[in-house]
Amino acid sequence: MAISVVALLGVSCGSDDAPPVGDATLTVFAAASLTAAFTELGDAFTAENPDAEITFNFAGSSDLVAQITEGAPVDVFASADLANMAELIDAGLAADDPAVFATNLAEIIVETGNPTGITVVADLADGDLVVVQCAPEVPCSSYAEQIFANAGVEVTPASFEENVKAVVTKVVLGEADAGIVYRTDVIAAGADADGVTIGDDLNVVAEYPIVSIADGSNPAGARAFIEFVLSPAGREILAAFGFGSP
């Protein structure tokens, strides 16, 4: 966390004032589940605006809010849930109102071939299974808790991981049997993992809001990037990774 803040400080120290989006470094903090999609969005954005330079910082949404609150220099923030975005707004750090740009569904991630034979959410309550979950304030954890409540089961995880990608890693590496992640994470894992769909009656729809940060070093660039994310081209890229439209 500290290393990424220092790296970002080094990067954004280069720009002096707020030049037009043409030649500016844009700093975007985005939820871990947006890693692949936003990297591609960044590439597409810089293809259209050749002089623009984007730096990303992907981490759990609560981790990012903590960094922004402590003064990390950033222009755009994309969260994996509305709760963390609300925290940011309450702290008075948003430049304007957030816009929901994508939705996501939760899914159970298991090892390739589903060796433990998990079919429904209730299977996760089995004490012999090693289940991992996101740490309490990270969005995927609150979604998981809601799903467990909907299913009426109590699941005790073996570990609380710092973000959703860490949950994916534990399952892919074979250390954990299952975890609740986003559908997009299962898709991103490709052949390294399998997913078990959660029934519509139990599942939650994750809403992803995006906002530009007040006192960012590149407000024009921030607006342009957010517009791009909300544009049809942006929606297409997000859909390709498995995100739903808002």
């Binding site: 609560s62 981790d63 991981e161 710092e162 074979g174 250390e175």
Partner: protein
């Protein structure tokens, strides 16, 4: 002391003092006691103490023989073996954690057999925390003790042996007392390193309150939800470490590497 050198030294002191002052300045003193006595803090503290002491004990049991091997026994490739054993000192802890995964995890090189034959899994257990901490802490003890053993005059031990003492007696009554300052300093360094271990622990052992959530993990996670609690826990860790270091005082650090003279 020349003024420019003094000025640089003062800057260095300020560099170390400033973060501590910053923590004290931001600490929520009115709520401090609530946070300190909360479940999170007490459970994490107890776990940290137990695991770091276990890791230190393991470091001594395995580290002293290793230090002896590296200091006294000349064998081909000794330099490479020493580098290998001290590698985790320079390795980023998270890298250490990942490496431990691939060695001792459920699908790891050795771990898969531990799991299949004995039903032993290390990740997500307190034992896993101790393993991760020992991995990063032992080199500190090895390096300190090896230096002391090298500087110990072998004539002392030779004299003991020629007088009829067994090897174990010689080790116990001659060698150990002579290297005791280095051994103590090494043990304390190893303990401090084990106590502060974060990267390898969260990667290899995971994070669950009471089982694997040590103090550093608790501080890191509470930073996201409740920065005030994080500050109080951080100050607690600093207070413990500070007390131990002050208790050590100069004599232990000064004694490391001081050769023991033999009266001619």
């Amino acid at each position: 002391m020349p003024v420019p050198a003094l000025a640089l030294a003062i800057v260095a002191v300020a560099f170390f003092a400033l973060p501590l002052v910053g923590l004290i300045w931001r600490a929520p003193w009115s709520n401090a006691w609530t946070y300190l006595t909360a479940d999170t803090a007490l459970v994490a503290l107890r776990l940290s103490m137990v695991t770091s002491l276990c890791a230190t004990a393991l470091s001594i049991v395995f580290g002293v023989p290793l230090a002896w091997l590296l200091a006294r026994v000349d064998f081909p490739g000794r330099g490479a073996v020493r580098a290998l054993c001290l590698l985790s000192m320079v390795l980023p802890p998270v890298v250490g954690g990942v490496a431990l995964f691939f060695a001792l995890g459920r699908r790891g090189l050795v771990g898969q057999y531990l799991d299949q034959w004995f039903g032993i899994t290390l990740p997500f257990t307190t034992a896993g925390v101790v393993v991760a901490q020992t991995f990063v802490a032992m080199p500190f003890l090895v390096i300190t003790v090896e230096a002391a053993l090298r500087q110990l005059d072998p004539r002392l031990e030779d004299a003991s042996r020629t007088l009829g003492a067994s090897r174990w007696y010689t080790f116990r009554r001659v060698t150990l007392p002579a290297i005791r300052p280095a051994l103590t300093a090494g043990a304390v360094l190893a303990w401090a390193r084990a106590l502060g271990e974060f990267g390898a622990t969260i990667t290899f052992a995971g994070n669950f309150p009471g089982t694997t959530q040590t103090m550093p993990l608790a501080v890191y996670l509470s930073l996201e939800t409740n920065p005030e609690e994080a500050i109080v826990l951080a100050l607690l860790m600093i207070a413990i470490s500070f007390t131990v270091l002050v208790g050590l005082r100069d004599r232990w650090f000064g004694a490391v590497g001081r050769p023991v003279q033999v009266a001619a």
